[in-house]
Amino acid sequence: MGKRKNSLSVLLASLFLIFALFLAGCTSDEDASTDEPSTTDDGGSDDGGSDTTSGDEGESSTEGSTLATVEDRGYVVVGGNGQLPGFGYVNSDGENVGFDVDFGKAIAAAIFDDPEAIEVRPLSAQERFTALQTGEIDILIRNTTWTTTRDTELGTHFAPTTFYDGQGIMVTKESGITTLAELEGARIGVETGTTTELNLADQFRKLGITYEQVVFDDSDSLVEAYESGSVDAWTTDKSGLVSRQATLTEPEAHKILSEALSKEPLGPTVRQGDDQWFNIVKWVTFATIEAEELGINSENIEEFMDSEDPVIRRFLGNEGELGAMMGLPNDFAYRVIKHVGNYDEIFARHLGPDTVFNLERGLNENWTNGGLLYSPPFR
């Protein structure tokens, strides 16, 4: 009897000990999975702000040159979103397509002269930064918002913003609501765990508006609740609102308030510690923007090849050593535009008037047309 009692207490004690150890060991993991609980974020603003794991790994894991690794491997590994309409999804032929995917293709075109030399790794919101830090992916293009925390603590570098988004609110036209202030007392649907939820609370507190928040797990059920009238308004990124509006039974019966609740600049991300790779991603992205400004697209690019304009000659690699400075062939911009197209073409292909989204360029217009896209000079 005494023996049994003894062994029982040993068992209990050891279990407690191990449990305690386990808890201690798991704290960081818990953070990783709870900090960013948004699972199926449909907008860019899915970040819960702070992400765990410091940037140390990022630096230590990039001793070699990413470009050399990529060239050895023969293709670029792009971390992407597999479930965001317009930005990254799989079409019926099983190909990865979308606005974000095309910027990955641009990198591949610049390095290999082959836009298909990419492999898209679909990533969840939680695992994306780990995948980048550990070198599982070369570049992260997954509707990721540029924030201070991510740029510093997480050890990532943000290439130029490819899509300026912002949080908006959709209401029915029937309600007659035109400003945020008129939403007093309204039931507003929001996806749980995203920053949209936090932004909504912030903005409405600032304006002193009381409202009733109704949270949903995913955007599909949120839209259905809105259509059935159980919420008065719903909020997510404006691009998301626009794309969803097209699929409502009566798209004309709804409108998106012009006021924005937040800023969501989305762009490609690389890990810190490899400036050459960062430069490549930066300037390939700029190349698509610069080409639009110069009026060069994939159709007419051959006509520009014998242009006398020194700006165009430098841009297309007929003059100067711009590509060689970052380890690329000098005609990298030519390759990008030839294979993938300029920014306007990429935008039109996935989000423009010919798609169900019919998104306006808005902030994403070239600076020459009053937008925010501005490429530094290629020289």
Binding site: V10, L11, S14, L15, I18, F19, F22, C26, S28, D29, A32, S33, T39, T40, T53, E57, S60, S61, E63, G82, Q83, L84, P85, G86, G88, Y89, V90, N91, S92, G94, E95, N96, E119, R121, P122, L123, S124, Q126, E127, T130, A131, Q133, T134, G135, E136, D220, V223, S243, R244, A246, T247, T355, V356, F357
Partner: protein
């Protein structure tokens, strides 16, 4: 009652069967309208059933647009597996069909019914318009293989041994074929997807957890303290954390711990996680079986001079496992369905591909169709599993002795 009747009356009654059981009306009256409240209940239930059925049938046949399923059918089945390498998947399927056919011919019974179901599934797919003609050719070949296996199986010499060996090597062979491993052009695991990935993960988890579970169960009943407490600790820790945490560990934490340049493929990581998780539950199921055995069985095994290994293998385990078949199959079914959690950690299994497909701008808003379809797929497979387990229990006489 009949004993109280006089002989001639009972003859009369057998000549004239009671009216109440005659025809549909009689049956209705007896079962559905035999009292006032039952009649009300019947009417209400019929109305409820009518509205539910009417709603679902209208939705299925008029509102729903099934193009989202038919046009992405290949994605649902194999994900983004390279199209010109699809013959490898078909070959794997052909091999499995052959094994089903052979087993059906040799053992009849449950496996034959399952083969019939499999054949019916193939047949349905050859008829529906959206499967490509190459696909239909492969399906026809598969049907032929099952039939051939069924008729040749019993006539082959040593057919049982061949078939068993076939089942044993089937899994490594399938993995080899799918991956290529240098012999064929490699198809990386990250583009394995859809139902294919779901099945692979669950088969690995279910088969892999079985031996580990038995070892853990034996370890937990061991008298050696280190082994015993190790097993207890393992089982209790794993059972104390949710599966999704295990997957997050596998996807997010393990890469951080691994040394520089050393990478374990994310599909493998998830497979390991799922196996280790299921093993803990399997261990407890097996332990339940061990405890259900009477002391006498152990003693009898000792008495006839069997060493511990032999008595485990021939006396204890067969009885212990037989007793817990329902629990083990239940665990397997739940593991099969739990594989959907990998969709959250970025793998594109059947649920993952469903989420990807509904993000296609062409099919925006068609999520109901997608979910209904994959629910049907899960149900067919899970029900087949539970059906075979019921048949297995019957043939082994579980609960009858």
């Amino acid at each position: 009652m009949s004993s109280s009747l006089k002989p001639e009356e009972s003859v009369k009654q057998t000549l004239e069967p009671p009216k109440s059981t005659l025809g549909i009306n009689g049956w209705l009256k007896k079962n559905l309208f035999n009292s006032f409240f039952n009649s009300i209940l019947t009417v209400v239930s019929v109305l409820v059933i009518y509205f539910i059925l009417k709603g679902s049938i209208t939705w299925v046949f008029t509102t729903a647009q099934w193009a989202v399923v038919t046009e992405n059918y290949r994605l649902f089945m194999v994900g983004q597996y390279t199209i010109d390498q699809l013959w490898r998947v078909w070959t794997c399927l052909g091999f499995v069909s052959l094994l089903f056919g052979l087993s059906a011919g040799i053992w009849k019974g449950t496996i034959r019914n399952l083969s019939i179901v499999l054949m019916l599934l193939y047949l349905v797919h050859t008829i529906v318009p959206f499967v490509s003609s190459t696909g239909k050719m492969w399906l026809a070949i598969n049907i032929a293989i099952i039939l051939a296996g069924y008729f040749i199986g019993p006539r082959l010499p040593k057919s049982k041994a061949i078939t068993l060996v076939g089942w044993f090597i089937s899994f490594p062979l399938i993995i080899f074929l799918l991956n290529g491993f240098g012999v064929f052009s490699p198809v990386k695991t990250n583009i394995w997807g859809g139902l294919l990935l779901t099945l692979l993960i669950s088969v690995v988890a279910i088969l892999g957890s079985f031996p580990i579970g038995i070892l853990l169960a034996l370890g937990r009943t061991s008298k050696l303290p280190i082994i015993k407490y190790f097993c207890i600790t393992y089982i209790e820790i794993i059972r104390g954390i949710p599966l999704i945490t295990v997957f997050f560990m596998a996807q997010i934490m393990i890469p951080l711990f691994l040394p520089e340049g050393f990478e374990i493929n994310n599909v493998i990581r998830v497979m390991i996680g799922a196996t280790l998780f299921t093993a803990a539950y399997m261990a407890e199921n097996v332990r339940g079986g061990l405890q259900s055995l009477q002391r006498g069985q152990f003693e009898a095994a000792k008495a006839i001079g069997l060493n511990p290994v032999h008595s485990m293998a021939f006396i204890i385990m067969p009885q212990a496992l037989r007793a817990v078949i329902p629990a083990i199959v239940g665990q397997s079914i739940s593991m099969f369905k739990d594989t959907t959690l990998v969709a959250i950690v970025g793998l594109i299994d059947l649920l993952g591909i469903a989420q990807t497909v509904k993000a296609n701008p062409e099919f925006l808003g068609r999520h109901m169709e997608v979910y209904v379809f994959i629910a049907l797929v899960y149900w067919v497979i899970a029900y087949s599993m539970s059906y075979s387990s019921r048949r297995l229990e019957k043939s082994l006489g579980v609960g009858e002795r």
